[in-house]
Amino acid sequence: MKAFSYSPAPTAAEASNEKDSRAEFFAGGTDLLTRMKLNIVSPDALIDLKSADLPNGVSEQNGGLTIGALTTLRDIEQSELIAEKFPVLAQAAALAATPQIRNRATVAGNLLQRPRCWYYRNRHVDCWLKGGSDCPAATGQNQQHAIFDQSPCKAVHTSDLAPALVALNARVKVRGADGERELSIEDFFAPPTEDRRRETTLADDDVVLSIELPSDASHSVYLKAMDRKVWAFALVSVAAIKSAEGWAVVLGGVANNPVRLGPLEKALENTDASDHNALDKQHDKAFADAEPLEHNGYKVTLAKRLIRRAIEQLSD
């Protein structure tokens, strides 16, 4: 790890002002520090947000819920309010990483985490996402990689909270150069592009303030398939919600960003959940544009099965 300066920021505004491209915001550090130790990011400065005036914790507001940026995954997992009104989110938090990491990791950091792709994380690989010319995963060991083609990068988004928050239509409050603004989670996430090789649309000096959840989703579930019982990133995960407005079905671990299966959500409104044949047809349609790589075709099967299981659980 290269030497760096460290400064705690007193306010979000000052943190945003101080930030340049050679600095990194720092809170839980569970993602940033691992990348620094691997020498795949070597900032000159860390701006610590932990003591800044950022919202921390979970509170009810205007019929919805506000989750402060510094709220830890453990706080979310243990919040009775979230367990009751947003079980999909509580379950997602509980299935993430390990208790030690959940005690430390913040919700904002979780959404902003970089891929765990083993090419991206190898300092000897100059992959497309790190500014190189191509993605070695496309023709390499891509067991854990994307089945939906969103960019030249084949890495998947490994956040457990992200699919849940997309399903919940969360909004993200940020403090940037021009003051505060709020954007929908679907605008917050975006597959990397030629000029912006990261997984969110945030500007360099944007500080996440909070996550806003507009309405309850007490009938919801998060399912995660791993290659070990605990402490692994999702091979595939699904966040599903059934409400008066209809269904929400969002996948994790299958693309650069969480993938909302919009057509499937619509079709589910008119499909009898106990009619497996009809469901299977809808699933096949939902994955018609999947482009599995050499070693990850199983993810299509796995995703369909997890979705079916989630629908069954919510249809009981």
């Binding site: 790890m1 290269k2 030497a3 765990r116 083993w118 090419y119 190898n122 000897h124 690989v125 070695p136 023709t139 390499g140 060991q141 067991q143 398939a225 290659d227 070990r228 019982k229 605990v230 402490w231 692994a232 091979l235 070693h295 990850n296 075709g297 199983y298 099967t301 796995l302 099965r305 997890l306 079916r308 299981r309």
Partner: protein, 771 residues
């Protein structure tokens, strides 16, 4: 065959008291164990409290005055020529005290190929290029980044199959075969296959697995005048001692190797690796102690692995289940170099486990541009047991014979390669009985189905080529003037409980309570030469010598007591530190009283390990059964329970024995389900040289593991009846789990590990076939 009465192992006593007691007196106890007060008991580890309170000093805890910290620069290419290396900027960095590289022109060779310590031919990602010592690990890491290396990348091959292609790049001179194929045949295998009513034939692949000891490789080296002291994390202090002397050209009385506690080795620490020598060389150059401990990346890239294998197996059998032929051909991925230590013996289990007159095996090691392989807990047998026991399960299924019954049908009590009896001919049979009792194999339910969950049962058996122990081992016991005893050995406790178990043997043999015995080990300056703790050797090597020394001392104490009591020594015994009359009368006397009378003189005794018998082959055995659940929708595998019945002869400590079973089976679950070193063969890089993506099982992955104690003293093996245990529980775990998966789902896997990708692909293929 009858059980012989072995002789006490000891050298001639040179004390003042003449020995007159018949040696046979105590043997009854060691045959039956009925009178034991210490041996066999579940004694907690002597150093347990020290360890759990963090006070035990491991190699990483050593802090010497002025100590520097080392780090290693590694080659990022799978195959490259080092054109030049410039370390000047690193040397100029404040806080850096020494840098070593090819520029130092050390005349030291390494690996079986005798490559230079710093070679200009770099043959795997992680190959060592330079090392630095600095005031902190951070400064050392900074220094590494300042070293300028000019590499010329060379064509490489990391895949074992591709390495044997005609146009494959040569890793050393020649065709990438490490040696000629090692062939074995008895009977006529081709004829045996022709006679068979039924055959089973498959190609099995096992993965490269990493030892993943909690404590990485490393050492602290310190020159005191012209004497080198090394605190090392090793399975063999004497092996490191010898190798350091050889590499550095030092006399053995100028080098001392110390290790009191160790955080796991599993075979990868049975020989000297470069980092320890780097620590010594850096320390000499810097004039200060140097601690060089590897990070997980270095550990995973360059300190050994379980070689991947490709095994072609064909079994022939008659309709009644009797094997008529066993044929096995295998390739082993040696990595870029051949290392010292236990060889990976894939062929062994095919030659020995079952009665079969026609057996043919062939194995060869293949070079690839990957980190060198080294022994890993039952090297070869773990890989081979998966293949053989999967094939046997398939045979049982095809013949509609119960898998346990099929194994009994093919039982042998003899070593068919040496044509002599096993030391414990009923050992494996007893394992089968105990497994059946504890698991309820014969009473097991039919495979069941609930929703998408399928449950099934599987088992596997094995023998193990080591575990017999071997000389040399010399033990010295000093009876202190207060009646307590210091037992001095040259072995080491690699975390298995050796210290405790040997103290129990000493206490039992002398007649002292455990609290009165101190067991010394892990220091080449105090103990006699003892073997590396490999091959489940330590207890069966050391315990007989400890017992010998203990019995020797006991006799001396009794002789002295007899003089004091004016009686015949044969009427006396020592129990729990007290001199007891077998005739029920004399005044009370303790061992301490005897010592007090003798003071300032004191008693001492030696014991040494005899050669093993030549008319029998010593063998440990084992059997293991698993119950597994498979979710046929999501491919999730859950191991529900495991029962393991290993025959390690007499169990000297049931608690530490349980630990070996739990640990070994846990590693077996990882080998079966999650662990695999991944290499991108296009670019030659290792992708998971970390703990994040090299997935060892977590507590949540481990079911209840039951140790079905066999506890069958093998007094043909040695005078304690104990054989090795450490490696046994890992050997049969993966095939038993895989056989249970077959029982549950009808899916037969021939490639490890069985992760979701493989399960789901197989389920899909099964479904398509059904449609």
């Amino acid at each position: 065959m009858t059980i012989k009465t072995p002789e006490i192992e000891s050298s001639k006593n040179d004390g003042d008291i003449e020995l007159s007691l018949p040696l046979q007196q105590d043997l009854t106890d060691w045959q039956t164990g009925h009178e034991f007060t210490v041996v066999g008991k579940p004694h907690s580890r002597l150093e347990g409290a020290e360890k759990v309170t963090g006070r035990a000093q491991y190699s990483a805890d050593v802090r010497l005055s002025g100590q520097l910290y080392g780090a290693v620069l590694r080659c990022p290419h799978p195959h490259a020529k080092l054109i030049s290396i410039d370390t000047s900027e690193a040397e100029a960095l404040p806080g850096v005290h020494a840098v070593i590289s090819q520029n130092d022109q050390f005349d030291i060779d390494w690996y079986s190929e005798e490559a230079p310590l710093f070679s200009d031919q770099l043959r795997f990602v992680g190959d060592e290029v330079a090392a630095v010592a600095a005031v902190s690990t951070e400064v050392a890491a900074d220094a590494l980044r300042l070293i300028k290396v000019n590499y010329e990348p060379l064509p490489f091959v990391t895949d074992m199959d591709q390495a044997l292609a005609d146009d494959a790049p040569a890793i050393h001179d020649g065709d990438n075969r490490v040696e000629e194929d090692s062939e074995y045949e008895r009977g006529d295998c081709a004829a045996g296959l022709q006679q068979a009513d039924i055959t089973v034939e498959n190609e099995y692949r096992t993965q490269t697995a990493l030892h993943t000891a909690l404590e990485a490789h490393g050492a602290t080296a310190h020159w005191s005048g012209d004497e080198l002291i090394v605190y090392e994390s090793t399975q063999g202090v004497h092996a490191i001692h010898g190798l350091l002397c050889e590499k550095l050209g030092l006399p053995m009385n100028k080098v001392r190797v110390i290790e009191q506690h160790m955080g796991g080795g599993f075979g990868a620490k049975q020989t000297l690796w470069k980092p320890t020598l780097f620590a010594a060389l850096l320390s000499r150059k810097a004039g200060r102690p140097v601690q060089l401990l590897l990070d997980r990346e270095g550990e995973n890239l360059a300190t050994g692995n379980r070689n991947s294998t490709l095994q072609q197996v064909k079994l022939g059998a008659s309709n009644d289940g009797k094997l008529t032929a066993i044929k096995m051909t295998c390739r082993i991925n040696a990595g870029a170099y051949a290392t010292a230590g236990e060889a990976s013996n894939v062929a062994g289990i095919f030659q020995h486990l079952y009665h079969c007159e026609n057996v043919k095996t062939s194995q060869v090691r293949v070079y690839t541009n990957t980190g060198p392989a080294v022994a890993f807990r039952a090297p070869g047998y773990v890989e081979a047991c998966f293949a053989l026991e999967s094939a046997m399960d398939e045979l049982a299924h095809k013949l509609e014979i119960d898998p346990l019954e099929l194994r009994r049908i093919n039982y042998t009590g003899r070593d068919q390669t040496g044509d002599k009896p096993w030391s414990s001919p009923d050992g494996l049979k007893t394992c089968y009985e105990r497994l059946d009792e504890e698991f309820g194999w014969s009473q097991r339910k039919a495979p069941s189905s609930e929703g998408s969950i399928r449950r099934g049962y599987g088992l596997a058996a094995h023998e193990w080529m080591a575990g017999m122990g071997n000389p040399p081992a010399a033990v010295f016991i000093k009876l202190n003037t207060d009646g307590s005893a210091d037992v001095v050995t040259g072995t080491q406790d690699i975390g298995t409980g050796t210290r405790t178990v040997l103290a129990q043997v000493a206490a039992e043999a002398i007649g002292l309570p455990m609290e009165s015995v101190r067991l010394l080990l892990g220091d080449t300056a105090i103990g006699g030469v003892a073997p590396v703790s490999q091959g489940s050797f330590t207890v069966p090597t050391l315990a007989p010598a400890v017992r010998g020394a203990g019995e020797n001392l006991r006799r001396q104490i009794l002789e002295a007591a007899a003089l004091l009591l004016e009686t015949d020594a044969t009427t006396l015994e020592i129990k729990d530190g007290e001199i007891v009359s077998t005739e029920g009368k004399h005044k009370s006397l303790t061992v301490a009283d005897v010592c007090d009378e003798l003071a300032p003189q004191s008693l001492q005794a030696h014991g040494s390990r005899r050669a093993n018998p030549t008319d029998t082959t010593i063998r440990p055995f084992g059997a293991l059964a698993a119950e597994v659940a498979v979710d046929t929708q999501t491919g999730e595998i859950t191991v529900i329970r495991i029962v393991n019945a290993p025959d390690c002869g007499r169990i000297l400590n049931s608690k530490t024995a349980n630990s070996q079973v739990i640990g070994g089976v846990t590693q077996g679950i990882g080998f079966a389900l999650t662990e695999e070193r991944m290499v991108d063969h296009n670019i030659g890089l290792v992708l998971n040289a970390d703990l994040e993506e090299y997935k060892i099982p977590t507590v949540a992955d481990i079911p209840t593991i039951t140790h079905a104690e066999v506890n069958l003293p093998d007094l043909n093996a040695n005078n304690t009846g104990a054989k090795g245990l450490g490696e046994l529980p890992l050997i049969p775990a993966a095939p038993a789990i895989l056989n249970a998966i077959f029982d549950a789902t009808g899916l037969r896997f021939t490639q490890l590990p069985i992760n979701r990708a493989r399960v789901l692909a197989a389920l899909q293929a099964q479904q398509e076939t059904a449609e």
